[in-house]
């Protein structure tokens, strides 16, 4: 069997995280995986959707680009996605908010059980992708976050 599963990549990420190395390049047949730690001097964080055009060197310019780029935060389980803790309440996050790995970005309801969803990354929210109150499947993109 060849190829890497998501679990494999998560495992490799944990290994790299716990090591002194700043980056890792892994090549297996046709597959090439490049990982760099956040804060490492590198142009791109690991992304499921590499930018199609090379981006200019990150200038310290403001405001940050809020055009729907960045990492996709996937639904950890299937259910109904809610933007806010209860109807009428302000949403957990909006575009332009800064989130950390443990920031709650929404709730997924599965048969009346509410599951908090966290961002899992540090950065700026660039897009709320999944609509409020609708079913999301496992792995569906909920929001996008531009990592620091």
């Amino acid at each position: 069997m060849s190829g890497l599963t998501r679990e494999d990549i998560d495992y490799i990420l944990r290994l790299v995280d716990g090591s002194d190395f700043e980056e890792l390049t892994l090549e297996m047949g046709d597959l090439k995986l490049e990982l760099r730690k956040a804060g490492a001097p590198a142009p791109l964080a690991p992304s499921a959707e590499p930018a199609s055009t090379p981006r200019p060197a990150p200038a310290p310019a403001t405001p940050p680009e809020l055009t729907g780029e960045g990492l996709e935060v996937p639904a950890p389980l299937l259910g109904i996605f809610y933007h806010a803790p209860k109807p009428g309440a302000p949403p957990f996050v909006t575009v332009g908010d800064r989130v950390g790995p443990d920031s709650v970005i929404g709730i997924i309801e599965v048969m009346k059980l509410m599951n908090q969803v966290t961002a899992g990354v540090t950065g700026l929210v660039t897009e709320i992708v999944a609509p409020n109150g609708e079913m999301v499947e496992h792995g569906q993109t909920l929001i996008r976050v531009k990592p620091d």
């Binding site: 389980l77 109904i80 048969m111 059980l113 079913m135 499947e137």
Partner: protein, 452 residues
């Protein structure tokens, strides 16, 4: 009467494809719930929509009642077909469907409770006047020892909550009772979340014969019997209909006992009542009722001409059966070989991986139920059954001859399969003579090992 417009299929593999086939034929849309490992499966492509329930491990996808219910509702489905295995006999799913207004294409929660637990099912069998193998439930080694003294060895330990052969242990003498009991209880706890076990006398020379039940709640019909005696470690390998060399009086008694059990519990759906049959003594014992479509349902379809999935859907819609017992006739003989991705030369180790080539051409009397095609991935997370070859002939000999042809012609490359074992069975004199019991396949494997 509610007509189903869109079915959510909570299963995978060949049975998902089988349900899609009938749904398309009768004009019902399908949504298939898949795990991450099955996103590119044939079923996912054939269904009108596929939705990812969760990660590859079944506990987080195919066994998640919550994900299945939310997905079915979110996709606008009005019914759930559970296939076999996974949640097919799960009372919680059937109840959750009832609670949210979805049609469960299967029996009622009460029916599932009546048959889901071996003890309850035995109680119903006794009340229905259906014969039982002597046995009882045990909680401790001491209780097991006392029961063993009464019953005598060999014994069979079964999980109360079990099915499909998991958690079953054979015990030949008192010395191994304690260790096998521990093993059975821990397996039962791991597989079913219920460590209770049941011990019964092992009837060593028996045939496994089961009755296909069709009931709309008013009329309980049978669609004949199937012989599933060719088993390895309680897993069926070859099935056929009708059961060969079964005396007419015994056949009639078994079919009537199956119907009596289903009538007694007020069963309404497609189901199967399994019996262990001692042909020499003309005796038979109730084993269990499976409240779902069986893997081996195609042999019944081939000899009766019925579409059992279509009937199951119609019953779930609340339609009365448009059949009487006299309308169900049997024509010829059908045999099914279960092709598993396993290495028979290496102790039947599963052989997952990518299928490089898959070719199942049409042959006279051959039906293939499969989700395999070139490039298909067989994930390591699930059952190893990847295709069912079903042949039908005017006679049993013709069905066997057609199966031999099919096994020579079809190609399934890239993974190891048990096709060579099926070829050996189809050539074996005892199988060809017909009427073998459940000791047959272990014996054949021993003979194959010792034959150079």
């Amino acid at each position: 009467m509610p007509r189903i417009a869109r079915i959510f299929i909570a299963n995978r593999g060949e049975i998902a494809v089988r349900v899609i086939r009938t749904a398309r034929a009768i004009g019902i849309e399908t949504v298939l719930g898949v795990s991450e490992a099955d996103r590119d499966s044939l079923g996912a492509r054939l269904a009108d929509r596929a939705v990812c329930l969760g990660p590859a491990p079944a506990s987080q996808s195919y066994l998640s009642v919550g994900a299945v219910i939310e997905a079915a509702k979110g996709m606008g489905c009005d019914a759930i077909h559970p296939g076999y295995g996974f949640l097919s006999e799960n009372r919680d799913l059937a109840q959750a469907c009832a609670d949210v207004g979805l049609i469960f294409i299967g029996p009622s929660p009460d029916n599932l409770a009546a048959v889901g637990d071996k003890l309850t099912a035995r109680g119903h069998a006794r009340d229905a006047g259906v014969p039982l193998v002597p046995g009882a439930t045990v909680a401790t080694t001491e209780e097991a020892m006392r029961l063993a003294d009464e019953l005598g060895f060999p014994l069979l330990i079964k999980a109360v909550a079990g099915g499909g052969g998991r958690g079953m242990k054979r015990v030949d003498h008192a010395g191994e009772l304690a260790s096998q009991l521990d093993l059975a209880m821990s397996e039962a706890a791991a597989a079913f979340g219920d460590a209770r076990v049941y011990i019964e006398r092992l009837v060593t020379s028996g045939r496994h014969i089961e009755v296909q039940i069709l009931s709309d709640g008013m009329q309980v019909l049978h669609a004949g019997e199937r012989d599933c005696s060719i088993q390895r470690r309680y897993q069926k390998v070859v099935e056929e209909a009708p059961a060969p060399h079964l005396p007419d009086t015994l056949r009639a008694a078994i079919l009537e006992a199956g119907c009596a059990f289903a009538r007694h519990i007020g069963y309404r759906s497609l189901g199967t009542v399994e019996f262990l049959v001692d042909v020499a003594r003309e005796e038979f014992y109730f084993l269990e009722m499976n409240a779902r479509v069986q893997v081996e349902h195609p042999v019944t379809e081939e000899v009766t001409g019925l579409d059992l999935i279509a009937l199951q859907i119609a019953i779930a819609e609340g339609q009365p059966l448009a059949l009487s017992q006299d309308d169900i006739g049997l024509v010829g003989h059908a045999i099914e070989c279960r092709l598993n991705a396993e290495d028979i030369g290496n102790n039947f180790m599963p052989s997952p991986g990518r299928v490089s080539d898959a070719w199942f051409p049409s042959l006279p009397g051959l039906r293939v139920d499969t989700h395999m095609q070139p490039g298909a991935m067989i994930p390591p997370h699930y059952d190893s059954m990847i295709a069912k070859l079903i042949t039908h002939g005017a006679t049993r000999a013709e069905a066997i001859a057609r199966m031999r042809d099919a096994l020579r012609v079809i190609r399934l490359e890239g993974v190891r399969t048990n096709a060579p074992l099926h070829a050996a069975i189809m050539e074996d004199a005892a199988f060809v003579a017909g009427g073998v019991d459940t000791t047959y396949l272990p014996d054949l494997l021993t003979r194959m090992d010792t034959t150079p």
